[in-house]
Symmetry: D2
Subunit: 498 residues, 4 copies
């Protein structure tokens, strides 16, 4: 690392030129399968089902018994891993894959996972969903000792540590490494023998185990099992390392036992509605959020309108409790390509119009309960409110199916900084003014917990990772504490094909 040029590898503010309907909220999807014919074809399908977890890039590494093969692409799985030529380059019965979201400005192919390294004792490939909170500190030490990093990704730190481990067996090298890193993570790894899964000690990031015929699979969510016709066996537990070899699963729990504390945002937004979290589909939890929200709020409004698609389940729950009509007052344009260019004579609310439009005749002169799953920066919400008024709405009452988001994430979620989080900087009235709605209400933290587990938040040992609302970060933020001004510079500006 080049300290002369003041390079720091801390989180860079994303300068997205693209209007995004959702202002947070991408992370990554991981998938792996062992001992199954056409493994990479199966991985492509699994990644397709996990596409909502990351659309920037995707990669597959396969192993054919002799060699590892790697293909990485910018963009969607369906645009890249659907042609035979590409899949032919990924032979073997053993493969892992990764969907990437763009946390940083560096969108080089090099940064797309899975990563591969040819280490002493054999090849190792790693796909990672999450974030290490001490990755930079570890990286600085490794570079000082002569390690050469190829990427700006924290996943490479894992790979370098595995390579440096003096343990003999690959699983031991991995455990050796896990004791050095901190953060929230779900890892799917492949040696030339084993498929290995690992989840952080609190189980912040998700990982599930499935089975198809005799072969085991690992994935971020159960929806990836459904698409390939596999059976969901169980979650990988917090702090668990699972080793799949010869169609058997071995479990190791190297860490001191802790109570699980999964990320509550998997329930609120990330997981696909049909993915199963603790025995129920995410859809059901989200309807419950709407239901609880309805209970907590008054009886204003003529119709319930969701912000599509993320607000739909809560809006259904809300409308069912209130016995109000649920209406698609907003239509989403599902054809979303690259950023459109605005004409010289600029168009009002250009960005949001590319994604949404209003069903004018159904909202005209109506008092609308507008439901969304969360409120982040507030800019999109304010444009949607405006669109409804422009479409003829009489009143717009915004109802958010989760508590106010006041604290950023450092465990793998791409989210604006504290400065940009509306609820971190304004009180309820100020927020309502900002989005120019007639009223604004949030689901309470207690309501949220009730909706998920039917019990109150355990203040001593909270059942979920919920610092977004509470500021209680369950894992130490090592890199973040060293320096407030956290930016990431890449010394080598990298191009797509280098």
């Amino acid at each position: 690392m080049n300290f002369q040029t003041v390079m720091t590898l801390k989180k860079q503010q994303k300068k997205s030129k693209k209007f995004k309907l959702k202002e947070i909220r991408e992370e990554c999807g991981v998938f792996g399968i062992h001992n199954f014919a056409d493994a990479s074809t199966v991985v492509a399908l699994g990644l397709h089902a996990l596409q909502h977890r990351g659309q920037e890039g995707c990669g597959i590494v396969s192993f054919d018994g002799k060699s590892f093969h790697s293909e990485k692409r910018h963009g969607l799985v369906g645009d890249n891993f659907t042609n035979k030529e590409t899949l032919k380059k990924l032979p073997g019965n053993f493969a892992i894959g990764h969907n990437r979201y763009s946390t940083t400005g560096e969108t080089s192919l090099r940064n797309i996972q899975p990563f591969f390294a040819d280490i002493y004792g054999g090849g190792i490939s790693v796909a990672h969903n999450g974030n290490f909170t001490n990755a930079i500190k570890l990286r600085e030490k490794l570079v000082k000792d002569g390690a050469i990093f190829r990427t700006t990704s924290d996943t490479e730190t894992i790979v370098q540590l595995i390579a440096k481990s003096k343990r003999k067996k690959i699983v031991d090298k991995i455990i050796d490494t896990l004791f050095q890193v901190q953060g929230g993570y779900a890892l799917v790894m492949m040696s030339n023998k084993q498929l290995i899964g690992a989840r952080d000690p609190l189980g912040i990031r998700p990982l599930v185990l499935g089975k198809i015929k005799n072969s085991y699979l690992l994935a971020s969510e159960t929806c990836a099992f459904d698409i390939v016709g596999a059976k969901f066996i169980r979650e990988v537990e917090n702090g668990e390392v699972v080793i799949i070899e010869n169609d058997t699963v071995k479990s190791i729990k190297p860490f001191t036992k802790k109570k699980p504390r999964p990320c509550i945002f998997e329930y609120i937004y990330f997981s696909r509605p049909d993915s199963i979290l603790k025995e129920k589909c995410a859809y059901d939890y989200r309807k419950n959020f709407g239901y609880e929200l309805a209970k907590e709020t008054d009886n204003k409004g003529d119709i319930v309108v969701p912000v599509p698609d993320s607000g739909v389940p809560a809006a259904i729950g809300y409308s069912q409790h209130k016995k109000m009509n649920f209406e698609l007052g907003l239509i989403r344009n599902h054809y979303v390509g690259r950023t459109f260019i605005e004409p010289k004579q600029s168009i009002r609310s250009f960005g949001v119009k590319l994604k949404l439009s209003s069903n004018k005749s159904s909202i005209k002169n109506k008092s609308i309960i507008l439901i969304d799953d969360s409120l982040v920066r507030g800019t999109t919400c304010s444009k949607i409110v405006k669109m409804l008024y422009d479409g003829g709405a009489k009143e717009v009452h915004v109802r958010i199916a989760c508590p106010p988001i006041k604290f950023p994430d450092f465990y793998g979620i791409d989210m604006p900084s504290k400065k940009e989080l509306l609820a971190a900087n304004k009180n309820l009235d100020e927020m309502c003014d900002y989005i120019k709605a007639d009223s604004l209400k949030f689901l309470s933290l207690e309501g949220l917990y009730r909706a998920i587990c039917g019990e109150n938040r355990n203040k001593m040992y909270p059942q979920f990772t919920d610092h977004y609302f509470t500021g209680e970060y369950p894992v130490e933020l090592v890199d973040q504490m060293k320096d407030e001004n956290i930016t990431q510079l890449s010394l080598l500006s990298s191009k797509s094909n280098n």
Copy 2:
């Protein structure tokens, strides 16, 4: 045309390798704007809003006062007309555009519209939504007289006729041509002075007129006006030719006056929910279909589940009338790329799983009212019914928000042949058996008319083009009557870049 090689230019059966959630139903989208800065940028936005009308290809022709410029691409507008380099190649304040669907196997760039020809008196560019029922007969005559066709598209017949017209003014050449063609069509054309729109004598295909500042626009649907911030002025009438020049609109009605008879499928499926058809959003008509359907059917079922996204409005209407819970029992995967490859160990219901999955916990042990907008071949429906049972549903009652489709279309809709239309070949019970549902009901033709216009179908002068259900073709099928065995061979196998 090469009669030795027995070439005929009649409709070729489409051999789509791709599983399609919707079995009919694509046509085309057209858009044009005159005298507005960055015209091609505006056209790109308009085409994006009309993307649902055709995803195979898109093209824009602009005119900068001196030269015409043309860019055509395979695929979506958002993937092609969003980069500055491409739009720079389309300078000028005057542009028209086209979204193409794939009626035939020939997917060459040559067949993507708008077409341009450099004719005596100036350039002319044509974008067409619809189909001419006597195009082949006209083409045969033109070829015999020495015309060289470049494409297999019926739109080129229009262009050749315009070029051959002995009239002097371009508008007269066009009217001369319109008297020779038969069918359903909406044309947007551009000379080096005028933007010209034309709609067939019955107004089968749609065309609307809008205004932004002082400039006029033409589009297939009003949703294309919303995205660019333009105002919807009025529909172009059946049999009307509108000529836009110097920011004024001139109207000519060259044909004998007839009552309008627009395509009823614009109400049922084609138009985007937020597009306005006779003063109401398509969404409202579709909710009405569900409402009428509910009235016509009994009170079975625990929950109402739509086939997403096309069945959603009718399902909402149905649930509101029956006061039953509306539930997203099926989740649609919106990331749809090219066809995925199935692994060797094949996956049950592979195709439908790529697009849909079930919300297992919400459908378990439920008796489901499944709502879709229409039933075409029945194969997709049968897979969806199966998916619901596999997900734990107790009963599945299929309710279709339009009457049985028994007759194919020849006015511009891409639809299976009569042999493949389920309702053309089976009675209600046989259909229900085929899709393996517990029960099956369709909306009646009278119910459909009531839902749209509040009155009965006028048997003498039906208010809509509705041969799908009735077999009453309002325009003579010239080419189709000559030969039953209608296939299309392209003599020159054309490649994408020739």
Copy 3:
């Protein structure tokens, strides 16, 4: 054609941004084969051997007994028709091909030949080397009658005329057409039965007939036969139409018989050194030019240095006659890609340095006889002279192995206009001053004739087309006489893939 926008289709001055070592001198290459397995693979090889005749684009059309197939590409044959995928798209035992040079600024794929048209009676494909001097006049008439032109190429005029001919047989349609056009041309055409070759009445452009096993071939030069292992049979004669069908050759001579008058520049520059022209390799004629030049000039100089590669044969002939040492004083860089960008701090003689460099130690303090095949604009020559001085040469005496070029060509050669031809605007001393050489000499016209045919130029019936030197244009210049200011505008700015 759009007369309002003052479009004329006359020759456009080429605005080549690229430094060219040779300032004239590209035309086209044509090739065809009938009834031979893998015909398009053979055509690719033939075009590769003819690559020197045109590097801008190349195309092949094949016929497989049922359909025609066409592939066109920008750039070299070896970069485009060497992969199996491309050749697979060109099935059949019958194929023709074309190498294109860029006469005009319009470099669209559309303008790359062979052209194909689906006309009444069957498909026809045409590849053309040459230029029609009345193409624009014919085009204007055709457009007025309703013909739609797709390209700006004069070859399309031929195709349109063939399509319009009222004759029944394809050969008769072609002959009908040949009577209407004027100019220098060699045509290779393919119907769905026959391979047809045609050469203009004076035989200005070259065309040769070959045979491999039982199959006949046509090509611009014999070198294309050598590469595929075919035998050279004979030249197609001036004014002859050859029809190849069922492995037999039929000859028709529709025109009044004339003495042949081939282009003398095929001897001087165009033909590859190993191609046979009237029984001898072009190399031998060029050595003779050097020999005659040596006889006509005095005994100055220490060494003979050619401008590589075109000046080499003449330099060898010169050195052998004078018994002087032949030396490679200039080295040519054969890796020539696209135009290099000059750095901000500009480099002296940048363009020529990309192509040539001097062998400093071999030219130091030498009096050099510099031999080139011709002198056109003089700019390149002046830079080469300077390079030799900079490299240490004591004297540079320029000797040109053909007479002064004073008149442009209109029969298919890409050449500067009269304004740019050095010899058209300066006398010998002025030219020598311009190139800054110690002396300058040209081969005399009589010397040139002696070197080729051992006899004097027949003033009544010159043996060769030699207007470059004499101004005697053997075919009427119809289009050129109408308008001095001959420019070509393309109304539709065309892109590579439209």
Copy 4:
């Protein structure tokens, strides 16, 4: 490194599917410039002049004072670094570049140089011409210690060693590294301050120093200075490290002083004819080889014909001494793309016909002295001899302008293995039989030395690296001695864009 999968990183036999006119003989080209505007544009030009040293890939790394930028491409400089977009991605006044030849089957972009690493203390970029004979041994040790290699190139070993060096200054880290490696090498390196050149202790691989205005440059050959208008200052000496900073050159000689022993093949083949080696152009040495060869051989033959282009200078020298006519009996086709596909009905001597053809009329009935610069496997030579006979030659006497090549190279030259070297396996008569010539003669080793330096080979301290002829390898072959069966497996099959 994965010893389980028996990976060894030793030289892989190249399985070139492409017919090559020259059977050995590619290495690499390096270029660097410091403190000059548009540095990468200048590097592109320098690499273009060095294109003959490697055509497989090319890369440039620039430094703009803050960041390093890297672009790598397959193919030629002129096809890749001539567009503004690419050069814009390489800003800065400081840049180095590399032309790569393909020694191994692995042609991934990852293996294209220059390499870059972000090491402790700053970035470092390395371009290398040559080969380290102990690279594999060093690599094995580094991997065991946890280093992760990204490429299969020995240049990465250098980079890893520099990263691991505990010295503080970058120059010291480099010297630390040079003491560990063995072989023949010329390195051009760039830190964020300095341009550094290094040549192996014997100076086997070439490196020259130039100057333009106040800025210094490094290059493999002087021809790269000519193209950019720079002045040739001097050679970098054997064992010298030059450090360019602030427009001054500092020289360090860390090794025990040795007599220089440059590779004799730079004189015979590699260097461009106009490049200066010890004060004379390579062209002059090669003419001398022909001259000495003429002295050593008898007076047979009518004409002297070179194998183009490499045999031309020696043929000129030969013809001048013998006073025989020099003739271009063979014509080279300079348009060389990818491998052409042979038609089903195969063509005799297909490969050589793509590159060469004979000037039949000039060789007919002649007794030919055929001159080439060297004889490697003999297969090409035998095809050329056959081509001359087929073209009508009476006799063909092959004369080779260097001694018989009996030993392969391990210092950076891509050359067949000993098994394939004709002279390693046959005596003179057997070789003559193999190539089917009338006679065969080689230049003697003494003749070769005389031609270059006018003195005999110093047996104790040979003036040149000449193991090709003598088997005397001047640098220990560490990796090669461990294992006869030297093959290279890449564990990760790498694709172009990973």
